[in-house]
């Protein structure tokens, strides 16, 4: 239960005690909030006293009579806004002149309560104000969290982009200073390594493009019948040169031509990432089995490898941004750490799911389930 502090500023004692009596026993609940709100009322007879309480106590809600003996209600409201206090203010007015109303509006009054008011009118107004306060607070909190996630993403990203540049720069300096000799052959390793790092950096940038694409683009118009066999074949063709070097065989198994309604690029993202992972994290002479299957409602995709496997603790963060499993076996494998995170985001859009089964040094199987009729995007 949350208690909101209410300050009532009014020179009529009857109004003040009335407000206190009504609100001290009042409780507000909303269907979308777990906790109820109750109220604790403090009173001030003048604007000057009100400001003192506002400075010291920082009430959540201020009920403000405009016509006060010293400074006017509207001036108190102005004071609150100039101080940038985060408070909801409702003006209580007996004769609401247009002038006062406009000024109050300009200074961000949340509500107007006409005087005299019934307990019901007061309650209804306070209920409304409370709801606005709550939503404002939640929005603020969400923006803050969003901001932190973005900052973290950017800082890791810049690290991932800077490391390869440092490496290439270092090798170029070695060459510039002729550190290993005068012949180009003396620099075979630095050249190979530089090309490798640039290649990985390029794939990171490609992944980033996928990443922004799935977040920004509206898809509805891109939905079409996608033959998953074609998508799988293309993914296999793309990875084949690498697979041959790794001596990894790739088999594609399917009962019939499975068709799904989707944006073909999304399906490419899924297949490209999972097929290339299955090859990259395999052992020499291993194999990859891709199975495309379907039942009444879902398309089922299996990507099974005979590779290094993923330990139980590593499986937990597998689908987060920039997570790369670092160990002796993965140290020479390049990757952005974005692939599975991107796959997961694509699947979320299609209301699909991905699960992983893995035994270290035996192999890993990713299982994807995609509902056939999921075109109403989130």
């Amino acid at each position: 239960m949350a208690v909101l502090k209410v300050l009532v500023v009014d020179d009529e004692p009857g109004i003040r005690s009335g407000v206190a009596r009504i609100l001290n026993n009042f409780r507000v609940g909303y269907s979308f909030v777990d906790e109820d709100f109750t109220f604790e009322v403090t009173e001030a007879a003048t604007g000057e006293d009100g400001i003192k309480i506002i400075d010291d106590d920082r009430p959540d809600i201020v009920l403000l009579d405009n016509k006060l003996p010293g400074i006017q209600g509207i001036e108190v409201l102005e004071y609150i806004r100039n101080k940038n206090y985060d408070m909801a203010v409702a003006m209580i007015t007996s004769y609401a002149s247009l002038d006062v109303a406009l000024k109050a509006y300009k200074f961000g009054a949340t509500d107007f309560i006409p005087k005299p008011f019934t307990p019901r009118e007061l309650k209804s107004s306070v209920e409304n104000i409370t709801k606005q306060l709550y939503l404002k607070k939640i929005t603020h909190k969400m923006n803050e969290e969003d901001r932190k996630v973005k900052l973290k993403f950017l800082s890791v990203l810049s690290h991932e982009l800077k490391a390869p540049l440092n490496a290439v720069e270092g090798y170029l300096k070695m060459m510039q200073e002729r550190q290993s000799g005068d012949r180009i052959e003396d620099y075979t390793i630095p050249i190979e390594r530089s090309l490798q790092r640039i290649h990985w950096m390029k794939s990171l940038i490609m992944d980033l493009l996928d990443f922004t694409r799935i977040r920004l683009e509206r898809k509805d118009e891109k939905i079409e019948e996608v033959h998953l066999k074609d998508i799988a074949s293309n993914a296999i063709v793309a990875i084949r040169p690498y697979a041959i070097r790794m001596e990894v065989g790739i088999n594609l198994g399917m009962k019939s031509d499975v068709i799904i309604m989707a944006d073909p690029t999304d399906m490419e993202i899924i297949f490209n990432n999972l097929v290339s992972n299955a090859v990259k994290y395999n052992r020499r002479g291993g194999k990859v089995d891709i199975v495309i299957d379907e039942d009444e409602e879902n398309v089922i995709l299996l990507f099974a490898d005979t590779g290094i496997g993923i330990s139980e603790p590593d499986r937990k963060n597998l689908f987060s941004d920039f997570v790369r499993i670092k160990n002796e076996k993965t140290k020479n494998i390049g990757g952005s750490g974005l692939g599975l995170s991107i796959v997961k985001q694509v699947l979320d859009m299609y209301h699909g799911s991905i699960t992983v089964d893995s035994v270290p040094d035996v192999g890993t199987t990713f299982r994807i389930c995609l509902p056939k009729n999921s075109i109403n995007f989130k």
């Binding site: 900052l151 800082s155 890791v156 810049s158 690290h159 800077k162 490391a163 440092n166 490496a167 720069e169 270092g170 090798y171 070695m174 550190q179 390594r193 790092r197 670092k326 160990n327 002796e328 140290k331 020479n332």
Partner: protein, 131 residues
């Protein structure tokens, strides 16, 4: 003492950075021991006492560098440790080792940005080795 009397332990999981650092240190005249992980570094310090250690912050774990610093200082309090990383710059968490409380927490003698010039790096090392 000559530079060649000193053995520097370098720990970094970026094989290229490791190669280049070891290369630069070798050209400057030092002996080096290179390792690619916190685990390897830990087993090295069981067997030998380096004259100085240069450690990357993020290896197997985000705080591998801090843990290694702590372990080296515990075993060999007189071995200078340099934390070499690009992380402060990018995360905006900038910390230097100026205050005593930071020193006791991080346990490193120097914090150096990756990508500084080899000559500057060497000067920092010479200062720590009192050369």
């Amino acid at each position: 003492m000559e530079k060649s009397d000193f053995t520097i332990l370098v720990a970094d999981d970026d094989p290229d950075y490791l190669f280049q650092t070891v290369n630069n240190l070798g050209r400057a005249g030092y002996k080096t021991v290179a390792v690619e992980s916190q685990a390897e570094a830990e087993s090295v310090i069981q067997k030998m006492k380096p004259s100085l250690a240069i450690i990357d912050l993020m290896m197997e774990y985000e705080d591998s560098g801090f843990i290694l610093c702590y372990k080296i200082k515990k075993k060999y309090p007189d071995v200078p440790v340099i934390l070499a990383t690009g992380v402060a710059h990018e995360t905006g968490i900038s910390f230097s080792l100026d205050s005593e409380s930071e020193k006791s927490w991080i346990k490193a003698d120097r914090y150096l940005e990756k990508g500084i010039r080899p000559e500057q790096f060497d000067m920092e090392i010479m200062k720590l080795l009192k050369l």
